[in-house]
């Protein structure tokens, strides 16, 4: 994607318009992201390449944490940021089973927050 700017929006309105547009799309994709997180955690629990599952899940919550607060979902943003940190720690060398379990629970918290946001 490349967007040579030349925005014509009235000064002061552009960010609000961006937030409104992105918020609509964000909400439309949240359900799918929550479902994917659920599947990834189930696969990781079943021993299906847990590191790959966590890395993929970390990528999903990373994108949520980057914009959720700006779009009016501060708790979801915070939970996603925490989950990302815990998942990164859980796949680092020397991580324990307990790190893994803590990270999995943090993803469950994100999924619950997603359900609350789209309810």
């Amino acid at each position: 994607m490349q967007n040579a700017a030349a925005s014509t929006e009235k000064h002061g309105d552009a960010f609000a318009q961006s937030v409104a547009a992105v918020r609509t799309r964000f909400l439309a994709t949240l359900d799918e992201r929550g479902a994917e997180l659920d599947v990834l955690m189930e696969l990781a629990d079943a021993g299906e390449d847990p590191n790959a599952c966590f890395k993929r899940a970390a990528g999903i919550v990373h994108k949520i944490s980057g914009v959720a607060q700006t779009l009016g979902f501060p708790e979801l943003g915070q939970l996603a940021a925490t989950a990302e940190q815990l998942m990164t720690a859980a796949v680092a060398p020397g991580a324990s089973k307990s790190d893994f379990a803590t990270a999995t629970r943090s993803v469950d918290d994100v999924v619950l927050a997603i359900e609350a946001a789209i309810a």
């Binding site: 490349q2 700017a5 925005s7 002061g12 552009a14 318009q17 799309r25 980057g66 700006t70 943003g77």
Partner: protein, 319 residues
């Protein structure tokens, strides 16, 4: 002013575009990968003044992209602002070591972003004036005239020495650290003895080369994995490091001085210019009283500057 924004998340890019437009920066290009950014930058007529980079991206991440941008001669001094959700110290340190000028955490505040880009814009203008001044210096040099283009107290940005930041970038780095990270840090200052005298005898180019040699000796002599160094003016440097056990290492100065002696700074006519360094006390703030992070710069500096010249450049108030 033309900006290039790089983020693999299109939603984040759209918010960024809105924030930039509200701050009056409408001339921007947004791409979703480091590879796309490099494709654009390698086009002969592409030209940008400021770069806004996400850190965590598939393929070329923001830190590697920052290094590649810095390696391009025309963007050697262009401000790079990292805009990222990554708040761990190694990301912050890696970004500044790669040449970032500033670091904004996501979710970003659009007004704060505008202020940060405004600072970057000032740097672009300063760089333009410096380029004009260099051209003037070159012209005067070719006519046999010597000019001074920086003052003894100016914190000149030392370029081309890895892990050496401009003073402004060092301030921005420290301001991104949490109280806990500050508590895990220590800092030490070095100063060139009789710098005023040296400054009065040497040309600006010679002084710059001496400062660059000294910075190189400090970076190499500290023998730490994680340290960043800045030049503060008045012949003084500050190195900020991760705290280690046995911090009072009397060999640091000996090692740095030995390296500097080996580099053998010299005047432009080839005659030797011996440089002697002194080192202040290592400043290691406790986490619970860490307070103003800029004290990691100012406290060590005061330990090497005399009463006469202990003014600290650009000292910034922090709430």
């Amino acid at each position: 002013m033309r900006l290039l924004a790089v983020d693999d998340d299109e939603s984040a890019l759209e918010l960024l575009r809105g924030a930039l437009s509200d701050s009056g920066y409408n001339n921007h290009v947004a791409v979703t990968s480091g590879a796309e950014a490099l494709d654009i930058l390698n086009k002969p007529h592409a030209s940008f003044d400021v770069f806004l980079l996400d850190i965590q991206m598939p393929g070329i991440d923001g830190i590697a992209l920052c290094e590649q941008i810095r390696a391009m001669p025309r963007y050697r001094n262009a401000p790079v602002v990292m805009i990222t959700a990554m708040s761990e110290r190694h990301y912050i340190e890696g970004a500044f070591a790669a040449g970032a000028m500033d670091y904004v955490n996501k979710p970003f505040d659009p007004m704060e972003l505008g202020v940060r880009i405004g600072m970057a814009e000032k740097l672009v203008e300063q760089a333009r004036l410096a380029t004009e001044a260099r051209s003037e210096v070159d012209r005067l040099k070719s006519s046999g005239t010597q000019v001074m283009n920086f003052d003894v107290a100016d914190p000149v940005a030392i370029e081309d020495v890895p892990r050496v930041l401009s003073y402004l970038a060092m301030e921005n780095y420290l301001l991104r650290l949490t109280r806990r990270m500050i508590g895990q840090s220590e800092a030490v200052a070095f100063r060139i003895d009789s710098f005023d005298l040296l400054f009065s005898r040497a040309t600006p180019t010679e002084i710059y080369d001496i400062l660059s040699d000294t910075a190189e000796a400090i970076v190499s002599g500290l023998k730490r994995e994680h340290h960043l160094v800045t030049y503060c003016g008045n012949g003084a440097f500050v190195a900020v490091m991760h705290k280690q056990s046995g911090i009072h290492d009397p060999d640091i100065l000996v090692t740095v001085q030995a390296l500097l002696d080996r580099i053998q700074p010299c005047y432009s006519d080839g005659s030797p210019c011996p440089v002697s360094l002194r080192m202040g006390e290592i400043h290691a703030p406790r986490a619970w009283i860490a307070g103003n992070p800029l004290k990691l710069l100012t406290v060590p500096l005061k330990s090497v500057l005399s009463d006469k010249d202990n003014g600290v450049p650009f000292e910034r108030e922090v709430a």
